[in-house]
Symmetry: C2
Subunit: 331 residues, 2 copies
């Protein structure tokens, strides 16, 4: 019973930003909102002298054949040595026996994927059906993937890009155009993007709010996915007040780590502010967007549920095609 | 930079119960007692409907080139399906970059090893130099490995074995004799073993105390390694009162999970009862056994430090001999 070993290359070939992958993420969120998930708090190891951190996430989803344990490391002095900051892998465990089924040597690819797919799920339930212009703040990997993930759920025609570094914004816009065939434009400031898009995705590691409540307009949907730690903040707290509908991935997590955390801390929202998990909308327990005038927000912090969902999906696509790992005969 | 993949077979060939492995466990304990370890609390996932649990342990040891993340699953209905209850693996991460260096597909072998080696470390510092008779309560894998691990540190001549099931005790005694060449005897009760040995190792999952204070005698050393959870208890609380020296692997853990936990809970010892970590004795900050009359106890609960130490050791022995994992070309 040697576990299967899946390389990044194989995982990239097996799983991408399509409807089938989106649906498995939806199933995960639905199970979470339905109380069908066992998800312990994140294990965190900080190594201050190396400017490094390790996060370990897991979630057991009832009805899924396996569950994932994901380790992600960020050692932020690596670029000085010419190495990527991030590293990690996922271990897939059988839900009936706890035995290791597979080791997914994805180098963070599945995390990129499940994060972008959560943005697509948010847009599917919360953006206007006739949304045509997507805007993105930030110019990293997620800026590109979030736009790409929107393609199967809305008929996007134009993409507006802003980032603090104009050169990065240009190359991000170029990369999106090449990948999607969409018309892309960079804009001189965040306000210009927010005022002129139907779907806004914020993907920055900002610690000071970038998006002001005054800039919001009727019908806008905002997916805020940059904030996944206590010190990150992309939306000024009034943005949440101004919104007609505030939705999140995990109520427990956004109160601790998300945009909501800052609005609560600032005293702008009360602790009993109604928080709807996206899973409740997926299952039909709560409504999604109800008209074209509403302003909607989805606050995403990233959950172990998504990790298990994407790992199960990718493994399922490859399963049967794989031979188990062979002993390589050293020692 | 594909991680190395090490199989159980390779790890068994590389690392065993010898002095070199013992010394790396000692270094880990010394670092822990010295404040040179970052060890977050264990991540625990319980799956009650499958009678299953997952534990995830890690520890960063300053001065070690890598650190381990260990996942262990116990799904206790597996034997009904003809499968082993336990499963798991270790991931080894580079201490400078956080990148995955190796995946150790050990199926729990390294845990068995580091647990037995901790017993040997305890005996090295706490048992009488002239100890000749080892006694063991329990008949499982650790009963055998603990005795085997003692061989390089004391000149053991005879082994006394007791277990609740006499047949199991016989086959355990036979297995020890075959492996070590020592004279082994089974005894009819635990008392007989305790009264007649120089080094006692308790390796049972008992939830009611097995060892009574009245049975202790001058010069005895006791290693209690069975208790690694709140509900486990091998020594009656008075045993700790009767001992001249009480030592443990991790002060924080024994107060929560070890034999000490029960003595504190019973009110027999006070919360300020002096607890010495074995690492303090290894570094020389505290004395070990000071004469042949003392009764000593070492309370072992199992730590992430040992996991990192044994994983680094095993990987170091194989490193350079291994080719990186090759993509197997599916998808």
């Amino acid at each position: 019973m040697t576990p299967a070993l899946l390389t990044e290359e194989e995982l990239r070939a097996a799983a991408g930003l399509d409807i089938a992958a989106l649906e498995v993420i939806e199933r995960g969120f639905a199970a979470l909102a339905d109380g069908q998930v066992i998800m312990p708090p994140v294990l965190r190891l900080d190594v201050p002298e190396k400017n490094g951190e390790m996060d370990v996430k897991t979630a057991y989803i009832r009805g899924f054949p396996s569950f994932a344990l994901k380790v992600s490391c960020g050692f932020f002095d690596n670029p000085k040595k010419g190495l990527p900051s991030l590293g990690g892998l996922m271990t897939l465990l059988n839900a009936e026996t706890g035995h290791v089924e597979a080791v997914l040597l994805d180098n963070g690819y599945l995390t990129d994927l499940r994060t972008a797919l959560a943005g697509a799920v948010a847009a599917k339930y919360l953006a206007r059906k006739n949304a045509r212009v997507a805007g993105v703040l930030g110019t990293g990997m997620q800026a590109r993937l979030q736009i790409e993930a929107l393609m199967p759920v809305r008929d996007i025609k134009t993409v507006l890009v802003w980032g603090r570094n104009p050169e990065h914004a240009k190359s991000c816009a170029r990369a999106i155009a090449e990948k999607t065939g969409l018309k892309t434009q960079t804009r001189r400031n965040a306000e210009d993007v927010v005022r002129n898009c139907d779907i806004l995705v914020t993907t920055t590691p900002a610690q000071e709010p970038l998006v002001k409540a005054d800039w919001l307009h009727e019908g806008l949907h905002v997916t805020a996915m940059g904030s996944d730690a206590e010190d990150k903040n992309e939306l000024e707290p009034n943005v949440l007040l101004r919104a007609d509908r505030y939705v999140c991935d995990s109520a427990a997590q956004v109160k601790r780590l998300g945009e909501l955390h800052h609005a609560l801390k600032a005293g702008i929202l009360r602790n009993d502010y109604p928080v709807t998990e996206i899973g409740k909308i997926i299952t039909g327990a709560e409504p999604g967007r109800e008209n074209d005038a509403e302003i909607t927000i989805c606050d995403l912090t990233g959950t172990g549920v998504q990790d298990t969902a994407i790992a199960v999906y990718a493994f399922g696509k490859l399963h049967g095609m794989k031979k188990p790992a062979a002993a390589t005969g050293a020692g």
